[in-house]
């Protein structure tokens, strides 16, 4: 029986989650090109049947299995939903650790961009100015995602790693800009 089959096909009893990777857990092929809406829909569908709330009246064993299943689903959802985490996870499956927190930047081109955008954000005083920084960073993040899709399609993992670092940085900038937007509003 495949590890990602949450229920026994004959007796319908809930099974242990097993060792399936996050893609298989949610029923996807191992690819960077996933539709977020679809990831979400699969996750919801599976949680509807596997979440511990569905097993509240069952035996302790079934409750424990359901908790393990729901835990694995949450982990898979978290890893695949966000393009950045998805890219890091794909790289990790190939033995490449990205492990950057977005604070240290070594790529010289990224470093230049980073400084410029940080400066723009620091100087932004009005909501519209912050919005402009966010919009710029979002465009760059979308471009990085498109680039990642090409990198993974070409199986160029080194390039994918560089692009992932770039996206890590851009995501962090967007988060900071968004927080700043709430404060200047």
């Amino acid at each position: 029986m495949p590890a990602a089959e949450p229920f026994c096909p004959t007796c319908k009893a809930v099974q242990p989650p097993g060792q399936a990777d996050h893609f298989r857990r949610l029923g996807f092929a191992r690819t960077f090109d996933l539709d977020r809406k679809l990831v979400e829909r699969r996750y919801f569908e599976l949680q509807r049947t596997l979440h511990p709330d569905r097993f509240a009246a069952r035996s302790p064993k079934e409750r424990a299995l359901s908790q393990a299943q729901a835990t694995s689903l949450n982990e898979a959802y978290e890893a695949l939903m966000d393009p950045l985490k998805r890219a890091s996870y794909l790289l990790k499956l190939s033995g490449i650790e990205t492990g950057s927190d977005g604070k240290t930047v070594t790529d010289p081109a990224l470093l230049m961009d980073a400084m410029e955008m940080r400066e723009a954000l620091a100087e932004a005083r009005k909501p519209a100015e912050v919005d402009a920084v966010v919009a710029g960073a979002r465009r760059d993040a979308e471009a990085a995602e498109a680039q990642l899709s090409r990198d993974f399609a070409a199986e160029d993992l080194e390039a994918a790693k560089t692009t992932t670092l770039r996206l890590t940085y851009l995501d962090k900038l967007i988060d900071d800009a968004r927080a700043r937007r709430l404060n200047v509003a």
Binding site: F44, H51, P52, D53, A57, Q67, T71, R181
Partner: protein, 639 residues
């Protein structure tokens, strides 16, 4: 105390056949608690004869035993030292936490030992868990009276921002009360469930929940029966109680010159806070009012305007908005993506709070469902879903990051806040000395970088690590959080397989032995069945009325004419006799008869007291808030 009855008893469908016990939803609040029951997807609040679904979360420890609710609240006047309110603020708190709360909670504490704080009430030494269990036990009995069946299971709500210790304390309290907790549900999530199902809402919503003692803000996505929490935040010690406190401080400042350095008693503090709460409630409807404060036997009237109130509570309101800002940012959303904001909790009736919420979210907040009841309705729906099955599903998150202490008192985060639960995360740590045989694992919860700023949940020792050079051992610590938000930690040394598993319980929880002892005691005493409890409650109420009459007569017997005095005396004797008997209906009738007989007298006294209070003031005092100098000063706290 009046019995509860279903709002529309005829409409309650019978539960499924063969179902032996019923499951209810309980909102165990700081100020009030609410029970609701749901059948066929229609939740109903269980109400008393007067139509009220709010049961004050107040316990009085009388000579006849504990009483709960409005009967307990009534004793605040005569025997405040026996009354415990707002105990929810102490759930899962340690003796050290209480030091910082000592200014805000008018109780005597036993802070002698570590672990869970103990309240000193009369000659009893009580944990907050036991006091909460008393409230839950009363709720359970009332629900059973209502539904005519045993109620053994419940969904109990907790503030989303409750930490692990407070959640566990709540679950323990339910267990002591003889209730199996089907699930602990976060209050804003429960509110969203009731709201979403009722209004068929879809999209992203914020739930702003300001109760008596806690504040939560959760952002959820509602989609085809799924209620997915995207981010949550709050403050487990911020609520309407703080508003009351600010008002009371303000009044005490008015009388400071007269009081001098003489401290007020805990009882006076409780009564002043009570009056402050009435003022706050009155000013949700009116622009100004005069409110009595009784200190050292003298009652004065104090004017409070809406404007002055707004200014007094402003710091707390601003704090909630700052938290909202953080949570919107955590959810990685722009404000424009939030479709609506729902108000929950009695403190959202304060106009200033509504204005602040509207101004931050940029849209008028929704409060179509009674903000005091919506959480219990959601809990009842969830209780039905868990026992009867359902198409809806709540997906919640961890409110506060979990981590362990590393070298130098720093915190290494293992599970980040806002991670969907259930969750399991593991992290590897190593030894820092050659031949180190044991390792202390210190589990903490919170967002700060240092252990001192986070909440300590548990410590345990992983022993039997085989001798290795520093840094060679691989110790894998696994954190597992279940759907109730409760944590289990296990640790294993990977090269040898030495393993230990701990339920995170020790720091502020009750030990198993303590639980067993309390359970045994409560079974012995608690079998006194519900008739007995109701009889006691009626007697206590009867005595309260008699005492009140006695002191009124002592002061103002001269205001009575002969006929009136005779009528009152006759009713008084009737009640005194009824109290000695065992018939609670007779006591109830006698109380009503006495209140009726004494009503004109009571009204005359009230008129006179108000005139006297007004006469004691100069006109200048009634011009309202002079402004600028009323910010509460923590140095001056006397309460």
């Amino acid at each position: 105390m009046t019995l509860l009855q279903l709002h529309e008893p005829g409409e309650t469908p019978l539960p499924h056949e063969g179902e032996q016990t019923l499951a209810v939803g309980i909102d165990l609040g700081t100020t009030n608690s609410v029970i609701a029951f749901s059948a066929l997807g229609k939740p109903e609040v269980l109400r008393d004869a007067a139509g009220s679904g709010l049961i004050p979360s107040v316990v009085a420890y009388t000579e006849h035993g504990p009483v709960v609710g409005s009967a307990a609240q009534a004793r605040l006047v005569d025997a405040p030292e026996t009354v415990v309110s707002s105990v929810k603020r102490l759930m899962g708190r340690g003796a050290a936490d209480v030091k910082t709360l000592a200014g805000t909670l008018p109780y005597r504490f036993d802070a002698a030992d570590g672990g869970m704080v103990r309240l000193l009430i009369g000659d009893r030494r009580l944990t907050p868990v036991e006091v909460s269990a008393e409230i839950l036990r009363a709720l359970k009995i009332q629900a059973e009276q209502h539904l005519g069946r045993e109620v053994a299971k419940a969904v109990v709500t907790v503030p989303a921002y409750f930490d692990d210790a407070a959640r566990l304390a709540t679950k323990d309290a339910a267990r002591l009360a003889g209730l199996e907790v089907l699930r602990l549900v976060n209050e804003p999530t429960a509110a969203a469930l009731a709201y979403g199902l009722d209004k068929a809402a879809e999209g992203i919503y914020a739930v702003y929940d300001l109760g008596g003692g806690t504040f939560d803000i959760s952002i959820l996505r509602l989609e085809k029966g799924i209620f997915q929490v995207l981010a949550t935040g709050g403050d487990a010690a911020l609520g309407g109680d703080d508003f009351d406190h600010a008002i009371a401080e303000h009044w005490l400042a008015d009388r400071r010159s007269e009081l001098g350095s003489e401290p007020i008693t805990a009882s006076e503090a409780k009564q002043t806070l009570n009056s402050a709460r009435s003022a706050k409630e009155a000013l949700t409807q009116r622009e100004a009012g005069d409110f009595p404060v009784m200190l050292h036997g003298k009652t004065t009237l104090h004017r409070l305007t809406r404007l002055a109130l707004d200014k007094l509570i402003q710091p707390w309101v601003e704090k909630t908005i700052a938290i909202c800002r953080q949570v919107v940012s955590d959810a990685r959303l722009d404000l424009s993506e939030i479709q609506g904001v729902v108000l929950v909790g009695g403190s959202t009736r304060v106009p200033q709070v509504r204005r602040a919420v509207e101004s931050f979210f940029g849209k008028p907040p929704l409060s179509d469902i009674n903000p005091d009841e919506v959480v219990a309705l959601g809990a009842a729906l969830q209780a039905e879903a868990l026992t009867q099955g359902s198409d809806t599903l709540l997906l919640d998150v961890l409110p506060l990051s979990l981590g362990i202490e590393t070298m130098g008192g720093l915190v290494e985060k293992v599970v980040d806040r806002n991670t969907p639960i259930p969750v399991a995360k593991a992290q590897e740590f190593t030894t820092y000395q050659d031949g180190q045989a044991a390792m202390l694992v210190h589990v903490v919860q919170g967002e700060r970088e240092t252990v001192a700023d986070c909440r300590s949940l548990a410590r345990f020792v992983l022993a039997g690590i085989p001798p290795m050079t520093a840094g060679a051992a691989r110790i894998r610590v696994t954190f597992q959080v279940d759907a109730d938000g409760l944590l289990t930690v296990s640790a294993a040394e990977k090269t040898t397989g030495v393993e230990q598993r701990v339920e995170v319980k020790p720091s502020y929880g009750l030990s198993e032995e303590e639980m067993a002892r309390i359970l045994e005691e409560s079974l012995e005493h608690g079998r006194a069945d519900m008739e007995r409890r109701l009889l006691i409650e009626n007697r206590v109420e009867g005595q309260r009325v008699l005492l009140a009459l006695q002191s009124a007569l002592a002061a103002d017997a001269s205001m009575l004419d002969a006929g009136e005095a005779e009528r009152i005396e006759k009713a008084r004797l009737g009640l005194a006799r009824a109290i000695e008997g065992e018939d609670r209906d007779r006591i109830k009738a006698a109380v009503e008869a006495l209140e009726e007989a004494a009503r004109p007298f009571a009204e005359r006294r009230m008129d006179r007291a108000i005139r006297a209070g007004l006469a004691g003031h100069s006109i200048d005092e009634f011009k309202g808030d002079p402004g600028g100098c009323l910010a509460p000063d923590p140095e001056e706290e006397k309460l």
